[in-house]
């Protein structure tokens, strides 16, 4: 199913969501959110250049959307209402500030700037007023502290380079695992996720495999571990590109 819309560049998950809903000319509500869920997930998967550090934010929204969508498909589904109305409220909020930022942009572009003066207008005699208790040893300590504090920023930039596992990679990964064992325990699978992002990625990957009838999930009793089974006779290849 080819989709016909074309999105502009987007900033973050809420912006993407807002654009999708506005494209459909819908108001922001639960129905609209359920309606654009598939488009959102698809975009997420096909968009190149989402920074790994931002991917987590995109995925959290994807998870909330999927929850909203499953509620609309299964009216009997009992879930806490908070998450879904939360997303709706957050999106409305975001929209207000997004509109305001356009106004602010216009104001700035008018170049209706104020200017102030940097220099004092009085003549200043040269003085030397060192902090009373300053010693070179204290300087050394302070500088060492500052250097230690830089670590965060240096490693943060570094993180961007580390590739995070994508949904597509996770799907083939799960397929490999399941081809050798036929069944997988959900908990075991989750243990292979290294962080929160990967947990959500894994969850999305399983949902996608279910949707494509490649696996089935079974839970005997509430609170039992969920078992992921390969469906017999399932086509060997998942049509990855339609995700």
């Amino acid at each position: 199913m080819a989709y016909k819309f074309k999105l502009q560049q987007f900033e973050g998950p809420l912006d993407l969501l807002l654009q999708l809903i506005e494209q459909e000319e819908m108001d922001i509500n639960q129905i609209a959110l359920a309606h654009v869920t598939d488009q959102y997930v698809r975009y997420l998967n096909e968009t190149k250049g989402i920074l790994p550090e931002e991917l987590a934010d995109f995925l959290v929204v994807a998870a909330k959307l999927l929850l909203i969508k499953s509620k609309s498909l299964l009216p009997g589904l009992q879930v806490e209402d908070d998450d879904s109305s939360d997303l709706e409220r957050q999106l409305k909020m975001y929209k207000e500030f997004y509109e305001a930022s356009k106004m602010i942009h216009k104001m700035i572009l008018k170049r209706h700037f104020s200017f102030s003066r940097d220099k004092m207008v009085v003549k200043i005699d040269k003085v030397f007023n060192p902090p009373k208790h300053l010693t070179s040893e204290k300087l050394r300590e302070l500088f060492a502290d500052i250097l230690a504090g830089l670590e965060v920023w240096v490693s943060m930039e570094h993180d961007v380079i580390i590739k995070t596992v994508s949904i597509r990679e996770r799907i083939s990964n799960i397929q490999d695992m399941i081809s050798t064992t036929a069944t997988l325990r959900f908990n075991e699978l989750m243990k292979t996720a290294k962080n929160k992002t990967e947990v959500i990625v894994t969850f999305l990957a399983i949902l996608e495999l279910v949707k494509q009838r490649w696996v089935a999930v079974v839970q005997e009793n509430v609170f039992d571990d969920i078992v992921v089974k390969k469906i017999d006779g399932a086509a060997g290849e998942v049509v990855k590109d339609t995700i």
């Binding site: 104020s114 220099k119 207008v121």
Partner: protein, 195 residues
């Protein structure tokens, strides 16, 4: 000399922003008196007929030219300021202008993305200022005088739709909820009194 006059002189001499604390210290008057006098000064100076205005953010004041004369002053001070800002910067600045002082988690709750890098960027550019809030026990961000001068307003309250965006009910709810679940750890179990 009245407090108002004295503040006027100090703001003129310094050229830079001066906080109520600093003014209080030099003038040896109490904060309340300083604030009332400074607000009076703003009322008096911030009229279209004046070439110089008094602008305010947080509890600091600065003298700056009336934005209506920007076309002339810009050449005189050889400003090359274009006001070009990227979309993430604009979004972040807008939220801080309307909702500041605001914490990073609150900001991220509205934007839906991690804001560490963009905040650092804006801090370095001097468009945003950070300080420790004693009450919230967290770092809070507000807009700087430089941004105010960019916008050509005397204080954030003059921004369009300020009241509406500043006191939005939806946002309040959202941030309250967020605060409740602020800590990543599960809340400790609370015994519910049985009926």
């Amino acid at each position: 000399m009245t407090t108002k006059q004295l503040i006027e002189s100090l703001l003129f001499i310094s050229g830079r922003p001066m906080s109520e604390t600093k003014l209080t210290e030099i003038l040896q008057k109490d904060v309340k008196e300083v604030r009332i006098a400074a607000e009076e000064l703003m009322k008096e100076w911030n009229v279209p007929e004046r070439g110089v205005h008094v602008i305010k953010t947080g509890s600091s004041y600065q003298m700056a030219t009336n934005p209506d004369v920007a076309y002339l002053v810009k050449d005189f001070v050889k400003s090359e300021q274009s006001g070009e800002l990227s979309r993430p910067s604009l979004e972040t600045l807008t939220i801080i202008a309307y909702r500041g002082p605001i914490t990073k988690p609150e900001l991220e709750q509205i934007r839906g993305v991690n804001c560490s890098l963009i905040l650092r960027n804006l801090l370095i550019k001097g468009l945003v200022e950070a300080r420790e809030d004693q009450e919230k026990m967290a770092t809070v961000y507000s807009i700087s005088f430089d941004l105010l001068k960019f916008l050509g307003v005397n204080r954030v309250e003059e921004l369009p739709d300020f009241q509406k965006l500043n006191s939005d009910e939806n946002l309040k709810k959202l941030l309250e909820q967020k605060l409740e679940q602020a800590s990543d750890e599960p809340a400790p179990p609370v015994a519910e009194p049985s009926q």
